[in-house]
């Protein structure tokens, strides 16, 4: 299959790594169901922060820590 060469503009526009993820995104990244993520939060294994309206956000660093890659 032919690959599409990246333009200079595309190469420069590397997206910044996200700092935090929603519960759904965290569950998808970890490959577990939503309840597992809430249980990890309850247990203090995942430290979370709250967005403006109270929605939980999981910092990227916490996910990496849980996976033992940081």
């Amino acid at each position: 299959m032919e690959t599409i060469p990246e333009t200079e503009e595309q190469t420069a526009a590397t997206p910044t790594e996200r700092l935090a993820y929603s519960i759904q995104e965290s569950a998808d990244l970890l490959g577990v169901n939503y309840f597992s993520v809430y249980r990890l939060i309850q247990r203090g294994k995942l430290k979370v922060c709250r967005a403006l309206r109270g929605k939980l956000l999981v910092p990227r660093a916490e996910l990496l820590k849980l996976l033992g890659t940081q």
Partner: protein, 191 residues
């Protein structure tokens, strides 16, 4: 769809918002009832699981039921509680010690959730913590739904939609055990 709108009929906009929220959070609506049922099952079976654990502790454990727990030696699996979670025991002087052990597939590790000398107390603490996790989920869901509605319908009062959605979220029965599912199943039987 269970509607909890008050006396006034929902407006077209409210119905549309409710449908959109239901679609957006479909996976939550599917997973929450199943998780709640797993916790309820755990609570219902505390006495039974305690008895099974006590009986298991009184006899030798088959090799395949031995679990290596990180930094805490070997435990003997007594009863499966939930996915990847079991009640374990190990002999100590004058009796047995019990622990809820969770296997983390992500890391491939086994970790102790809580432990004690009384299997029933260990299970009760564990069940209570599962309830707290469901509560965290419910609070987060409330916040997520409100955020979703504010972003989709800025300037509109969507509080009735949020209330209605949360009522559905906390009261819906999982597909696995819903009457409609059973009905469909029964319809398939031809005698």
């Amino acid at each position: 769809m269970s509607n909890r709108f008050d006396d006034r009929r929902p407006t077209v906009l409210e119905e549309q918002a409710h449908a959109e929220a239901s679609q957006h959070f479909a996976e939550h609506l599917k997973q929450f009832p199943a998780s709640r049922e797993a916790v309820e099952r755990l609570e219902r079976n505390i006495a039974k699981s305690t008895l099974a654990a006590n009986m298991a502790a009184a006899k030798p454990t088959p090799k395949e039921n031995i679990i290596q727990v990180d930094d805490d030696g070997q435990w003997h699996k007594s009863v499966d509680l939930m996915d990847n979670i079991c009640l374990c025991h190990r002999p100590i002087t004058g009796g047995a010690e019990y622990a809820v052990v969770e296997h983390f597939p992500v890391r491939g590790t086994n970790e102790i959730w809580n432990r004690g000398w009384n299997a029933m107390e260990v299970l009760k603490v564990f069940a209570q913590e599962q309830r707290q996790a469901l509560q965290i989920w419910t609070e987060d869901m409330t916040a997520q739904v409100k955020e979703f509605l504010v972003e989709k319908y800025p300037g509109q009062d969507m509080s009735r939609v949020a209330d209605s959605f949360m009522h559905r979220f906390t009261h819906e029965v999982s597909q696995q055990h819903s009457p409609s599912h059973e009905q469909n199943h029964n319809r398939g039987i031809r005698i």
